[in-house]
Subunit: 252 residues, 2 copies
DNA sequence: TAGTGGTCTAGACCACCAC
DNA sequence: TGGTGGTCTAGACCACTAC
């Protein structure tokens, strides 16, 4: 089997997005600053205005810019904070991007027959196994996320032996890369639901987090899908004590 | 002053969105069903393929459809549930759309000098007043949302007297309509942050909700902006007991 | 190979805003 | 009035999937 992944040129629109994100993050376009007009950017990068507008659409959805008809396109004042709930990001990167020293500990990993609910969510047949992983992420050596993943065996069995897959460091710390590159199953989207609870009601081993049993916890339960809309992972994330800010742009 | 609002034809793209949402909701295109190809829809509705694709972009962001290159566009299996966190919806409609009998009670309303934090969030000068409203939404006569709003006086003072604005039924139950039609300040987007806590830590009068002090609460704190990106409302919503499902699509 | 969605273009016209 | 973003078109080519 040829192991080379096909190298594909990102779309012009994506390249424009990357360029502009970079310029905004580096302060070349500070908050409240008007971006150059669409037509100017189009000729500057030698693409059509449609392509620029496509890039702007995505920057707007990311919350980086806002557009005013007849006036211009502006960098949003709040653009630098943001831990966007509407986008999926590796926790490891997330923690680092928020200015903390990221850490990762795998609590356990095993191949199991899944509980019925997980089996249904992952659309599996009765005899299919899943990998269950419990793990913790740290920020400056303090645990801030407890997380359980379930991965169907079919996702990884062509690329990893049952022993290999159990090792820490195989899936994390680059979760999305594990799926995209190592398993050839890029994650297309997650369907998540968000709820609230207290720590003592969460199935987390007591000695892991060392927090008050009544600490409030934000819980995100999500199913991730591949390009063919087949579920490839279920994940429950416990965020105790509101140490992270979850931000979100809601449109009318 | 002329009180007629300008009647504007919604864009072709929006009309296509409405048509398709309607057909999906009514089961004309059931879950997993392929939608007609883009070219076919384009000629069917006598618009360009670009226009159809614009509509599909929005349906995809709403989580109603998913697209597979080389295969087709499909109605998502989970399309009917959804209480989308990434979209702003009137609570009254939300409760009704989830199959409950909606109710609304205004606890209090008064014009005040805002606390510093609110004043800053709403970008107000020292001497400007805000309307502070406490309210509760009911589903089948049970309180399920406690909510506090702060509205700058400049938003409504041209359209309501200081006495009128305090009356219940002026702002709710159609929140978005109040802003868009009564105040000529359509809401463009909200910046929200989501966190978790327990009821006893929330500034909610005890006799209102009648729940355990340790009930987990999902808290959404958000600032709403008008078309000119000026903040026109701050709102804190307390959702106790996870009676509502908050769903979300997260993209890579 | 035929048909699908993904990207891109060049150009047009409109609505809105500031001057 | 000129410049901005918002919408739309007709057509082209590509990448991917199924057969």
């Amino acid at each position: 089997m040829d192991d080379r992944a096909p190298v594909r040129q990102p779309s012009l629109s994506s390249q424009i997005v990357d360029i502009l994100v970079d310029k905004i993050r580096k302060g070349k376009f500070p908050p409240d600053c008007p971006l150059p007009p669409e037509n100017q950017l189009a000729s500057e990068y030698d693409v059509s205005r449609t392509t620029i507008r496509g890039a702007f659409d995505r920057l707007e959805a990311m919350g980086l810019i806002t557009r005013r008809q007849g006036v211009g396109t502006f960098v949003r004042r709040t653009s630098n904070i943001s831990n966007p709930l509407n986008k999926f990001v590796d926790f490891y990167c997330l923690i680092r991007d928020n200015g903390f020293e990221p850490g990762y500990r795998q609590i356990s990993a095993r191949l199991i027959v899944p509980p019925d609910e997980i089996r249904q969510d992952l659309q599996l047949e009765k005899d299919q196994l899943v990998l269950e992983i419990h793990k913790v992420f740290l920020a400056d050596n303090t645990p801030i996320i407890y997380c359980t993943n379930w991965l169907p065996e079919w996702v990884f069995q062509d690329f990893f032996s049952p022993e290999e897959i159990l090792l820490p460091g195989v899936i994390e710390p680059n979760f999305t890369e594990f799926f995209e590159i190592k398993c050839r199953q890029p994650l297309k989207y997650f369907i998540s639901d968000v709820r609230s609870d207290v720590l003592k009601n969460c199935p987390i081993p007591e000695n892991i987090l060392e927090m008050e049993p009544l600490t409030p916890v934000l819980i995100i339960n999500e199913i991730g899908f591949n390009e063919q809309d087949r579920p490839v992972i279920q994940s429950i994330e416990y965020h105790p004590g509101n140490r992270m800010k979850f931000q979100l742009i809601r449109l009318g």
